[in-house]
Amino acid sequence: MASNAAVPFWRAAGMTYITYSNICANLVRNCLKEPYKAEALSREKVHFSISKWTDGKPEKATLRSDSPDE
């Protein structure tokens, strides 16, 4: 059978679709006019708690609020 169809350039470079889609969305948000841009930047904010698990138990959780620029 034919091999897999040509992959998109971003996947060939090791990027996942979700990363690609989020980059596209960020670029569009950065090109907006003013009142919309501020609202858009608030959509980019993330706030989450992350903890590593060992032996079935969670270690201490860290809270993170990454800015859009990572």
Partner: protein, 112 residues
Amino acid sequence: MVIVPATTGQMGVLPGHVATIAELKPGVLSVHEGNETTKYFVSSGFVFIHANSFADIIAVEAVPLDQIDANLVQKGLVEFTQKLSSATTDLEKAEAQIGIDVHSALNSALTG
């Protein structure tokens, strides 16, 4: 009728369209109702066309064209064209290429 920017090209969708899933590229989505047309720029995403003549557009960002700032688009295009020529790793090249694709699409949306 709705025209969606699929990765395989502009796709027109009318009631009765065969059920389809298509990946979208950054581009203009235009909704034609009677004599009115409403245009949105979608950053990327998917369109799901169902067998019952309903279609869903899934996009992270979809903005009316008049919310886009032409100067920022031009600046972005120049910036990413430069990034592409100075990129070394595959990942940097891919990111720069994405920047060029998105800003070119934004530019065509504003001038088209």
